[in-house]
């Protein structure tokens, strides 16, 4: 009896309550049309990425883990040539622009989600969050929280390779 309880507790402790099963994987990317950070008069929608394997990354300058993750995104964009669309979530545009200037800009497009409405449509609740989307616009992967080296190598790069196969 004790062993059974101990086993359940061990499993329970191993699980992370923050890793809520995502309802997004396998679904189409939610439609959006958000202004570009650097050209607010122009809007960018998910349709512009159709036919490409791409990564969507929610970030903000007020989010310390985003800073930790940023160099990996820069590397991903440069080495693997994966288009990354950045969503600057509830942030100050001036600060966001300065961040990209100082730390490097891995994004093919950075959109502004000033009110956090896009965040709600993508079920964002822990920054940063990252999605991998296939050519048909279907979400194949979602990560809530930082992408670290291990996760990049073990989860994201193999998936990108598989999706990019012609």
């Amino acid at each position: 009896m004790f062993l059974v309880v101990a086993a359940f507790l061990a499993i329970g402790l191993g699980l992370n309550p923050r890793e809520v099963p995502s309802p997004f994987v396998g679904k189409s990317v939610p439609a959006f049309a958000a202004p570009l950070l650097k050209e607010p008069q122009r809007k960018f929608s998910q349709e512009e990425m159709l036919g490409k394997v791409w990564v969507l990354n929610f970030w903000a300058t007020w989010c310390p883990p985003c800073r930790e993750e940023h160099p990996l995104l820069v590397e991903l964009a440069r080495k693997e040539r994966v288009p990354i669309v950045g969503i600057n979530y509830k942030d100050d545009p001036a600060r966001a622009i300065a961040w990209l200037r100082d730390l490097g800009d891995p994004y093919v497009a950075t959109l502004t989600d000033f009110e956090g409405r896009m965040g709600i449509d993508f079920g964002v609740y822990g920054m940063p969050e990252t999605f991998v989307i296939d050519r048909k616009g279907v979400i194949r992967y979602k990560r809530i929280g930082v992408i670290d080296r291990a996760r990049l190598d073990a989860e994201i790069l193999p998936l990108l390779k598989e999706l990019q196969r012609p």
Binding site: M1, P17, R18, V20, P21, S22, P23, K90, E115, G116, I120, D121, F122, G123, Y125, G126
Partner: protein, 153 residues
């Protein structure tokens, strides 16, 4: 500013019979009801009605907005579940994956009761009552007398 606001609120409160105030109060009640059913994903053990997290505030606003657009409670819940999963429901739905969650405690109780029952039955089997032998009677008596002697001292 405060007094003006208070007066304004008093004014609004004093015209309840109107359809507007009625529908407003109704919307308010439904918004609060819904917010109390939805989990704040940031704080996890609070509903969005209780939480002060920014996301909870945003979601409360979304609930209100959608209600005023005439959406039904069920549509709004579906909207939230589509984005945040079943976890957003403070009361988990009854599904194949949540059966253990719903019935686990009852199962544990039943298992405990069964164990207790079996244990008690087995113990009764071991406790066979028989009369003491002469020898045992005598030993018991001396022991008891020894004890009362000590107490008397």
């Amino acid at each position: 500013m405060r007094t003006v606001l208070a007066l304004l609120m008093l004014l609004l409160a004093q015209s309840p019979g109107t359809a507007w105030a009625d529908s407003h109060a109704e919307l308010d009640r439904r918004a609060k009801d819904l917010a109390a059913q939805l989990r704040c994903l940031v704080c996890q053990n609070q509903t969005i009605a209780e939480s002060n997290a920014e996301l909870a505030r945003d979601l409360r606003a979304v609930v209100r907005e959608q209600l005023s657009q005439g959406r039904s409670d069920r549509e709004i819940i579906a909207f939230m579940v589509a984005r945040y999963g079943d976890f957003v429901l403070y009361k988990p739905p009854l599904k194949a994956t949540t059966l253990l969650l719903w019935f686990g405690p009852a199962l544990l109780l039943a298992a405990g009761a069964a164990t207790l029952f079996l244990y008690l039955r087995r113990r009764r089997g071991r406790l066979d009552e028989r009369a003491l032998t002469e020898e045992e009677q005598r030993r018991a008596r001396t022991l008891l007398e020894g004890a009362s002697d000590r107490e008397a001292r």
